[in-house]
């Protein structure tokens, strides 16, 4: 799992780490029972305060996404169901960020939805064409 953080992001760093774990689950780079990097490792590679990592892991544990096994490390909980839980949650996060972007640009949600719809259809057409050629 690669963790990317952005200082300019509205979300506090620990929330960004939590979202990165969720993103790993949705994309399949993280699976149930996988070990997460240790607090020390992740803090060192991101050059952040280890407490920020601990805070993220503690919150994830409260949400039931990870489990801390004393002396062994932090693991993705065996019972997580990324498709049922993390996926809709991540979609909501992305939607929230998009909404903020819509408002910042002074646009209406309907206009952006329409544009998204059009783009989606164009992508689908291209994919269909490529499959036809292949």
């Amino acid at each position: 799992m690669r963790v990317h953080l952005q200082t300019s992001d509205n979300r506090p760093l620990y929330v960004q780490i939590m979202d990165e774990v969720r993103r790993g689950l949705v994309r399949g780079t993280l699976s149930p029972e996988d070990a997460l990097p240790s607090v020390r490792e992740l803090a060192s590679s991101l050059q952040i305060n280890p407490r920020t990592v601990s805070q993220a892991y503690a919150e994830l544990e409260r949400e039931g996404v990870v489990r801390v096994r004393p002396g062994k490390g932090t693991f993705v909980a065996p019972e997580v169901r990324p498709e049922e839980n993390e996926r809709p949650r991540l979609a909501r996060e992305v939607a929230l960020r998009t909404l903020a972007d819509v408002s910042r640009n002074g646009l209406l949600l309907e206009e952006v939805l329409e544009a998204l719809h059009g783009l989606g259809q164009a992508v689908e057409r291209e994919e269909a064409l490529e499959e036809g050629i292949g």
Partner: protein, 313 residues
């Protein structure tokens, strides 16, 4: 524009426990007041960054905290010790990286210096020192006097960290270091915080480098502490607001926040405001403005905005 001035920035960090406490700390050089009635509070376990322009008093403050500069007024307590009375005791418990790059024993080789430190500090961690020698690529056979600025800084960091002191006082820890070694230093500090219970007070111009390592910030200008607070609080309360405004917009009602910086176009504004975001947005709304975006500032931007604002004091 007429905005009521809200309360000053917070300096009160509550009940502690604090590793460093100064009360009314004042230091003068002749007619210049270097430190002016300073109430510094560094909570136990905090990584506290001190920001401020040259001459703000950062170095003098750190020197006062380990008894290397005498105060003219006020009280100082560092790890329960008054460093002016028991300077040697305080220095034994502190990992100090001074502003200057000169090492106290110019005739010694670095290897000899480390042996000396090992004898000096009961808590010296020989394995850790060896790992830092590797990480910092320190040449043990060099004489301390012949070290470049960057090499000297690495040795100073090594000596400060290797006895795992309960308190680190770092005066521009990355000064003189090239990009790669700066990067190494930040990872070393992350690992050090993870491995050892440490309180750290760091003074730096390069706030952006250590933004993610610190959890408290103090802003110092002309010997005065403009504010000190957890970085989360700063991030939460000091925000930039972009708003569309009608022609002839005037902020006549109280904004429920303190305007730190204003940039204005004809029909839009970008203000940096200290306050509760919801209340500030409502305040803009009452004045007829539509807030389009609210964003936190980086620590560097926040420090710059606060230091540039002449009303903060």
């Amino acid at each position: 524009m007429n905005t009521k001035t809200a309360a000053a920035l917070p300096v009160d960090l509550g009940g502690g426990p604090f590793t460093i406490t100064t009360r009314d700390l004042t230091k003068r050089f002749g007619s210049t007041t270097a430190l002016n009635a300073l109430d510094l509070r560094v909570p136990e376990g905090a990584a506290y960054v001190l920001v401020g322009p040259n001459g703000a008093g950062k170095t003098t403050l750190l020197r006062t905290l380990i008894g290397m500069a005498r105060r003219d007024h006020g009280a100082v307590e560092v790890l329960g010790i008054d460093p002016e009375r028991r300077g040697a005791d305080a220095r034994g418990l502190v990992g100090y990286v001074p502003e200057g790059h000169r090492i106290g024993y110019p005739w010694m080789t670095v290897g000899r210096l480390l042996k000396h430190c090992e004898a000096l500090y009961p808590s010296w961690d020989t394995d850790y020192a060896a790992r830092l020698v590797d990480a910092y690529e320190v040449d043990l056979s060099r004489k301390c006097r012949s070290l470049s600025k960057g090499q000297s800084r690495r040795v100073q960091m090594l000596v400060a960290l290797a006895h795992r002191p309960p308190l680190l006082l770092l005066d521009e820890p990355t000064d003189g270091l090239d990009h790669v070694i700066r990067d190494v230093t930040l990872s070393i500090l992350s690992e050090h915080f993870a491995d050892s219970p440490t309180t750290a007070l760091i003074s730096t111009h390069r706030v952006y480098e250590i933004e993610r390592l610190v959890d408290h910030v103090g802003v110092l200008r002309q010997g005065r502490l403009l504010g000190q607070m957890p970085t989360d609080e700063l991030r939460g309360k000091l925000r930039r607001y972009w708003a569309d405004v009608p022609d002839g917009f005037e902020m006549s009602t109280e904004l429920a926040g303190r305007v730190i910086r204003r940039t204005e176009g004809m029909r839009d504004i970008e203000w940096t405001v200290w306050g509760e975001e919801k209340l500030v947005v409502n305040g803009f709304g009452r004045a007829g403005a539509t807030v389009r975006e609210v964003a936190p500032l980086s620590l560097d931007e926040a420090a710059t905005a606060l230091l540039a604002n002449k009303e903060t004091s």
